[in-house]
């Protein structure tokens, strides 16, 4: 993130790590607030989807960093779309739908 620096990079990634905890906990809270009992693998799937989306965005911006801006946008658009759709499906199944078991 901060090329040529020694400290900032480590701090940045540590903060990122901390934020992930917050994200997961927020997700769990959200599920609870929607009257769902958080199931670990559902939470894991939702988070995985989010992580993948981040990876796609990072990939696109990497291309932009290589002065391939157009390619970067296409990358995000094409590879991101399926991820978004899968996420939507996951939300529908794990959050919207009334819980069948447990």
């Amino acid at each position: 993130m901060f090329p040529g620096t020694t400290m900032l990079n480590y701090i940045f990634w540590m903060v990122m790590g901390a934020l992930q905890v917050l994200i997961v906990m927020g997700l769990v809270e959200w599920l609870k607030s929607r009257g769902r009992k958080p199931v670990w693998w559902q939470v894991a799937l939702l988070y995985a989807g989010f992580a993948f989306l981040c990876a796609v965005v990072a990939g696109g911006t990497t291309l932009m960093g290589e002065f391939e801006t157009i390619a970067g946008w296409y990358f995000i658009g094409v590879l991101g779309l399926p991820v978004v759709i899968c996420l939507a499906i996951a939300v529908r199944l794990f959050v919207m739908k009334k819980p069948t078991q447990g």
């Binding site: 993130m1 901060f2 090329p3 040529g4 701090i11 940045f12 540590m14 903060v15 990122m16 901390a18 934020l19 992930q20 905890v21 917050l22 994200i23 997961v24 906990m25 927020g26 997700l27 769990v28 809270e29 959200w30 609870k32 607030s33 958080p38 199931v39 670990w40 989010f50 989306l53 981040c54 990876a55 965005v57 990072a58 990939g59 696109g60 911006t61 990497t62 291309l63 932009m64 960093g65 290589e66 002065f67 391939e68 801006t69 157009i70 390619a71 296409y74 990358f75 094409v78």
Partner: protein, 554 residues
């Protein structure tokens, strides 16, 4: 499952929460997520976690984007300009892909060694000498063209005309350079010439790195056979014994890296790829006397090389040069030559631009560094087509590297971007190679057409174009996305990965029309593939007004 629940409960435990909140607050570097972290007295725990979670997600996304961009822009992504000296730039693990014979090196007919006239710069020089001598003038036509060069061109109808046209274009190019291009390309030209004349050689056979027997011959007038030249300056009675061929290979490779070479490979010296009638140090470089002799002590060949500057190469034609890579590989060749002779072994450098007894690319393939490509240059996994080698011929017993097959040549069959982009139409479009060249079935670059673009390009010395190297999908900086494709593609037996990559390459990336690369006086836009780097743009530093447009892809 139950444990997982407990785990979550533990995470939700208040005292952990406080630290997390602290981290979130501290971590945000003034990002909005910090706020709830800071002032979450009023906010209920649930809401804090929910909104904090959302904000954290947004921050993560932004962070990922930023990190990605930084990686792409980072100087560390320029392979060959960082970890080279420790060998860190030969990072691709070739072992899983070793094979016995390189792709397209299975003979399909009688294998014949190349004539010296098949090397463009040797025949160009001979042609110019003939014209200078007055023995022949262009209006006399190819039939009257004397000597081996005449035979060469008579065997290839139409090519002499292209070459003569190219000579004319050299003049046009020089005029254009004088008229104004010397301003626009001032920095690119200076960079080019600094490396070439300042870094590598003084004209008139005065001095060159590495030393070249031809210069010695021109100075002394005496013929210098390889048996003398390659052993010069050896002071040991007998060479130092290596513990084993393996030890020899390991040491020499490390030294190649130490001398600044990104990639190095070692293979047996294969005379099939040595020119006939070339031996530097003999009169006329041995064109008329040497024949097809092979010196006894030429047993092994060490191939090493570096990439050309990346930004310049992406800004081909006008802003690219081969001489930075030439300079580095030549210096390394000179050092390696000496290092080996210090240990008591003979050594002879084969180095660019045109100081060879051999064709380089076959040896690069035999040494397992890379594979043959449609454009006629060798592609290597780390650098794509952007690889400029030099070599040392010696008689050390090495443990040789085996060739590799990483499916690059297969990709070439489908990709064809270089052929579509070539401003001179010199690169063939055939899916499968159609031409048989000296007994091997492979794609054949039309050198005369290619050189015509060199002669017409907006450069100071008319030496090079490099568009095919810049646009090659393999010629990419070393970032994680390219690393993923590089590692996945050759391991995928179904070919789906390469199909997907090719689809992305063709649909996501934008390219010029081939004509656009030509000089303005040659019916082109003088476009470069990408725009030149900031330090090559004359208008950024020099007292000139910018009367041109950059057409590079962004």
């Amino acid at each position: 499952m139950a444990n997982e629940h407990n785990a979550l409960d533990i995470i939700n435990d208040p005292k952990n929460r406080v630290t997390d909140a602290g981290n979130a607050g501290a971590g945000e570097n003034g990002n909005d997520v910090g706020e709830p972290g800071g002032e979450n007295k009023g906010v209920s725990r649930r809401n804090f976690l929910k909104f904090g979670g959302v904000a954290a997600a947004a921050a993560t996304m932004a962070g990922a984007a930023g990190a990605g961009f930084a990686v792409g822009r980072s100087d560390d992504a320029y392979t060959g300009y960082g970890r080279t000296f420790q060998g860190g730039d030969q990072f691709f693990n070739r072992e899983p892909f070793r094979c016995d014979v390189p792709v397209m090196m299975e003979p399909v007919g009688k294998v014949v060694r190349p004539e010296w006239t098949e090397y463009l710069f040797l025949r160009l020089r001979a042609l110019v000498d003939i014209i200078k001598s007055g023995k022949w003038t262009p209006d006399m036509g190819v039939e009257a063209l004397p000597g081996p060069v005449g035979d060469h061109y008579r065997a290839r109808p139409g090519e002499l005309e292209i070459m003569l046209e190219s000579l004319q274009r050299n003049v046009k190019r020089a005029e254009a350079w004088k008229k104004g291009k010397n301003k626009r390309y001032a920095l690119a030209g200076a960079y080019n010439m600094a490396l070439r004349l300042g870094g590598m050689e003084l004209p008139g056979h005065v001095q060159r790195i590495p030393e070249d027997p031809h210069d010695e011959h021109m100075r002394t007038g005496k013929p210098i056979p390889p048996e003398d030249w390659d052993y010069r300056g050896i002071w040991r009675e007998k060479p130092m014994e290596f513990k084993s061929p393996k030890h020899a290979s390991v040491l020499i490779k490390r030294m190649a890296h130490q001398f600044g070479m990104s990639l190095v490979g070692i293979t047996k010296f294969d005379p099939r790829f040595m020119f006939k009638g070339v031996m530097r140090g003999m009169p006329d470089k041995g064109h008329y006397t040497w024949g097809d002799k092979v010196p006894e002590h030429w047993k092994s060949i060490i191939i090493f090389g570096v990439p050309m500057n990346w930004d310049g190469t992406y800004a081909a034609v006008g802003y690219s040069t081969s001489f930075d890579a030439y300079f580095r590989s030549r210096v390394a060749a000179s050092l390696m030559e000496r290092f080996i002779r210090e240990l008591g072994y003979p050594a002879r450098a084969q180095f660019p631009g045109s100081n060879y007894e051999i064709m380089m690319s076959p040896y690069v393939q035999l040494a397992g560094l890379g594979q043959y490509s449609r454009a006629g240059v060798v592609m290597v996994p780390e650098l794509g087509a952007n690889f400029r080698p030099a070599a040392i011929v010696t008689n050390i017993e090495f443990e040789y590297d085996k060739p590799i097959d990483v499916k690059m040549a297969d990709f070439c069959k489908k990709c064809k971007i270089c052929a579509e982009q070539c401003p001179s139409g010199a690169i063939p479009f055939d899916d499968e190679p159609q031409t048989v060249v000296r007994g091997f079935k492979r794609w054949k670059l039309n050198e005369e057409k290619c050189y015509q673009q060199w002669a017409s390009g907006p450069t100071q010395d008319g030496l090079g174009c490099r568009v095919c190297i810049g646009v090659c999908p393999y010629s990419r900086k070393n970032t994680w996305i390219h690393a993923i494709s590089r590692e996945m593609e050759p391991r995928d037996p179904t070919g789906l990965v390469s199909q997907g990559l090719l689809a992305m390459q063709k649909n996501f990336f934008k390219f010029h029309e081939a004509e656009d690369y030509r000089s303005d006086w040659d019916g082109g836009k003088e476009a470069s593939y990408h725009n030149p780097p900031w330090w090559m743009r004359a208008e950024n530093f020099l007292e000139i007004e910018k009367d041109w447009e950059y057409h590079g892809m962004e």
